[in-house]
């Protein structure tokens, strides 16, 4: 006969954790929206790999049966939905959990002095995902519930190894990087501007809440105003970028071909259009 001896009570730690995630906001008509999404994924394959994605259905307001179909549809594109936002909905156990109590990320104090690089995943919204632009805000999740799913998202995120985003430790202001940014590095700065004195290699990424200034050649991806700052700009001495984006509106290397390649440029939002102009 075996009896389970009373275990030495080891307390289980429940910790709250807030982090930034992508939000997809589908809109009717769905076919068109999916087409736009496919186009964007085609331009940036693997962009969603391992990243937690929220599904904001407050615009679409679908029936529960449609939600399952939509989640499956996104699943075929390798996008893993870990929570759904839909006011007043009740979802079945087979669907990702409903996100409650989420706050929109702001620059003030929400991500204070984050030490662990594994926590914050700054998001870059884009016009294919969020045609309204304004919906492309980072959402912070106060992770009390759904620990399983969050763990899953984190596991996917943490296997990136040294290419883990380097979240700046400064509480405010400008991040100045004096060294070149190497291929595979990602700089996330949710507090303000990023100034890079060297070059930004292809295969690297800068995400900033404010503007991005690159005094060398910009060959990687740069996302300014990632938390919803429409007046953010990207400046560089030589534009060889793979992608430029401001507040989710983006332009890829192909679209820049010829017009602004190899030149000193600035990228900024003009209404709902991202403009890339040469600096003279």
């Amino acid at each position: 006969m075996t009896f389970a001896a009373p275990l030495e009570a080891k307390s289980i730690r429940f910790r709250a954790r807030s982090f930034v995630a992508f939000t997809l906001t589908p809109e009717a008509p769905m076919a068109e929206w999916l087409q736009g999404l496919d186009h964007w994924i085609g331009n940036s394959p693997g962009y969603f790999a391992g990243r937690p994605v929220l599904l904001d259905l407050n615009v679409l307001k679908p029936q529960p049966s449609e939600i399952a179909a939509l989640v499956a549809e996104l699943g075929t594109r390798g996008i893993r939905i870990y929570a759904i936002e839909l006011e007043g909905a009740s979802l079945g156990p087979d669907l990702p959990p409903l996100l409650v109590g989420a706050k929109e990320a702001t620059t003030d104090g929400l991500l204070p002095g984050r030490k662990g690089a594994d926590k914050a995943r700054a998001e870059v919204s884009d016009k294919a995902e969020q045609p309204e632009g304004s919906a492309g805000k980072g959402r912070a999740e106060n992770g009390k519930a759904d620990s399983g799913r969050i763990g899953e998202g984190k596991a996917g995120a943490s296997k990136a190894g040294e290419s883990e985003p380097q979240v700046s430790h400064y509480d405010s202001g400008t991040l100045m990087i004096k060294a070149p940014i190497r291929s595979g590095q990602a700089i996330m700065h949710p507090h303000g501007d990023v100034i890079v004195l060297g070059s930004v290699a292809s295969g690297s990424e800068i995400v900033a809440a404010g503007s991005i200034h690159v005094y060398g050649t910009l060959r990687g991806r740069a996302s300014a105003g990632a938390l919803g700052n429409t007046s953010a700009r990207i400046f560089c001495r030589r534009n060889e970028a793979e992608l430029l984006s401001v507040d989710g509106w983006y332009i890829t290397a192909e679209e820049m071909e010829g017009v602004s390649r190899g030149k000193p440029v600035q990228a900024f939002l003009d209404g709902d259009k991202l403009r890339v102009e040469t600096l003279s």
């Binding site: 040294e162 060294a179 190497r182 291929s183 595979g184 590095q185 290699a201 295969g203």
Partner: protein, 271 residues
């Protein structure tokens, strides 16, 4: 205390092992005590290029696991008195290396030798990270082609993040060695120019090694080119690179294609 130099690259096949042997031999010829350590556990190439494959009894893994003493595993080169080789094991895999073990071996080598060259495996995995872990300086070997340069950029990022020096807030000195440079193809624009490579990597240039059949021949004969054919242009380039590594301020000359010029002359004569 000796200097630990890791010879590394992101991409394979760019000439790390050849460069390790050639640079090591060149430095050793000046009378400095040099150890070459092969970190490519499971593949074992450096001993072949050094012509010592039949003298390997114990290897790096034996030393790390304590089954052999460092002095037993070190192979003295037959041509240069001050050149030693610590071979890699072909029968083990890279998981046999531990960070503490590698650290101890490197510390011992550092106290005995003036220079310790670590021949890194390609890639960014554990083996490569262990090879660079305790280095003071790095030679990043790259070919003038986009994929090689891109991977080198990645490796430089690792050197700045994952080495002991970097973690202690110090800088690790970095040098780019451009190998297999083909002047004719560069002139035709089929290769990246040296300026492009340096602009992308923004790391000082250690040397440019021209593509040469002699390097391959020397490697296959088991002799670093700097020992077997020191008058060869590639060997000269390696000898100059070694002098720069020792701190000498030599200008780097970009090799240009003499053949084309001669060919043209001969061609005219024939006409």
């Amino acid at each position: 205390m000796g200097k630990v130099v890791v010879v590394t690259s992101g991409k394979g096949g760019v000439g790390k092992t050849t460069s390790t042997a050639a640079l090591g031999a060149a430095v050793a010829k000046t009378g400095k005590k040099v150890a070459l350590v092969d970190f490519d556990v499971g593949l074992r190439n450096l001993d072949l290029i050094m012509g010592a494959e039949r003298r390997v009894v114990f290897d790096l893994v034996n030393v790390i696991q304590g089954t052999a003493k460092l002095s037993q595993a070190l192979i003295r080169d037959k041509r240069v008195e001050t050149l030693f080789l610590l071979p890699a094991s072909q029968t083990r895999d890279k998981d046999a290396l531990t960070e503490e073990g590698v650290g101890e071996v490197i510390d011992k080598l550092r106290s005995v030798f003036d220079y310790v060259f670590c021949d890194s495996p390609a890639g960014i995995e554990r083996g490569a990270q262990l090879a660079m872990r305790f280095a003071d300086e790095a030679v990043i070997v790259t070919n003038p082609e986009v994929s090689s340069v891109r991977d080198s950029d990645r490796i430089i990022g690792l050197l700045d993040a994952r080495t002991m020096r970097a973690e202690q807030g110090e800088q690790i000195a970095k040098h780019v060695l451009v190998t297999r440079y083909d002047a004719a193809r560069a002139a035709r624009g089929e290769m990246l120019s040296i300026d492009d490579v340096l602009e992308i990597l923004s790391v000082p240039l250690l040397g440019i090694i021209p593509e040469s059949q002699d390097v391959l021949r020397a490697s296959n004969l088991g002799a670093p080119v700097t020992l077997s054919e020191p008058l060869n242009t590639a060997a000269k380039a390696y000898l100059d690179a070694a002098r720069r590594l020792e701190g000498e301020d030599l200008p780097v000359v970009v090799p240009f294609e003499r053949k084309g010029f001669l060919d043209r002359l001969l061609g005219r004569r024939a006409a």
